[in-house]
Amino acid sequence: QKVFRVIPQNDEQVEILSFLASNMEVDFWQPDSALLVKPKMRVDFRVEAEKSFEVEDLLKESGMEYQVLIDNLQAAMDAQFDSKVRTTSHSYVKYNNWDTIAAWTADIAAQNPDLVSRSVIGETYEGRPIYLLKIGKSGSDKKAIFIDCGFHAREWISPAFCQWFVKEAVETYGKDTALTTLLNKLDFYVLPVVNIDGYVYTWTNDRMWRKTRSKNAGTSCIGTDPNRNFDAGWCTLGASQSPCASTYCGSAPESEKETKALADFIRAHLSTIKAYLTIHSYSQLLLFPYSYTYNLPSNYEELNSIVSAASKELASLHNTKYTYGPGAKTIYPAAGGSDDWAYDQGIKYSFTFELRDTGRYGFLLPESQIQPTCEETLLAVKYIANYVLDHLY
């Protein structure tokens, strides 16, 4: 059995679909029935194997835009059943391994086609696709906010937050007024795991790994610190020139395939991306540029008041105290960070989150804290998103 996706352009083509529905068994997946089909609407429907040739001929003849969404429904269902049996299932309140997260990105997009689409923005060193989710109600001329997680492999709470954010968006769209407005007016680009190779390594070999897994010339030491690898005061301070160090800046800015993919994407969408949020752990901090210098950004006052208010929002839920300020002074000077780079590209609202906790569990934050951490962080992110929406440029 095949599943077709068509977009009738006019009443005539809608008629053809009605004709199809009344003359053979057509199971409408989207919308629910032929009666609901309108021009320019995306229509998905299933037909029996034997009828699929007839249907395809008809569609070709009509000149209607169509694609075969699922070529063999039985095979697709079998595969899905197999994978659910063999792999662990996804949970928003547990740490998910990469395979589970990858499958989730496909599922969440398939289940919410009007709100979520998935793309691949590049490949990791070890050849894994880097998935990006675009969340938002489709519209024209929409500005966007970019959020990434999982820069540093051992910071497991970070990818957990990105997954939580997407869940909140799809589950509360149409129910939560604030989030619905945000999703109608803005797009959110969510990169659930930047450093996928490193993340996998923390599951298989070393829970405390931080960097990427790329080889370095002339040494057995592996990996570059992705957050020292951007072209922002690259390798001048707070980063190491030694490949064996945890803060190794890399052989050159954007030497890592992962950071290059991220930078390329942002460069390609610079006119639409109005804010950049990068999620890390731990320390409970909300930072803004600069980290590569003690100099302050031109809109320092504005950024400081944003993080001050966002921290208050965050604390309002569970009284979790965050410290905020410019990176160099608040945490430590460190060159090559993605937030500084994004800011210097012209994205004037650029923030780094360091999530829970302050050192008691550190990187090993208990799963029982995933939900409260994500809930409070979401408040801060929503605050920032609303601010950006009210101050578009």
């Binding site: 610190d225 160090a245 569990y361």
Partner: protein, 168 residues
Amino acid sequence: DIDGVGHKYCLELELEDVLDKDRTVSCTAEVLYPLGSKTSAPDVQVTVQGELRSTEEADQEFYNRIRSLEKELVAENIPDSHGNVPPELEPIHLLASVASGYVIWQNSTENTKFHLAQVKHVKQVKRSDEDLQFDFVVLLHEMVSQEVLPWELTLLWHPQRGARVSRD
């Protein structure tokens, strides 16, 4: 700045009981970081204003439990990758934090910020005297360099005599 000596910091701190977040106690401290490249620990003077809660009963219970174990306690990865600590190992985690605190103090400069990342391994060593002995391998996370470094240390503990690090 104290010429020829080092840098002195005067601090007013609030201590929060890790096991009872609502319990806080104020304290003042003076920390003197010595000048020069010789690696000596900062000098610390602390005054606690108020009382720390008594843990006599729980201490004694833990002490008796460990003393009565037939086989020496051995454990790994506390917490585990997902942040879990089995309840019976929670006191071991706390003792490891205390022991790590000593190591951190001995190795701190004005440019380091250490935390205990994980207890990689702990082995109890039975003793002929009344102390409990735990040999630890701990992972210490240093914030500025972002290194996670393994450290071997031995802790002696007794409910009345308290904790002492004997090898670091």
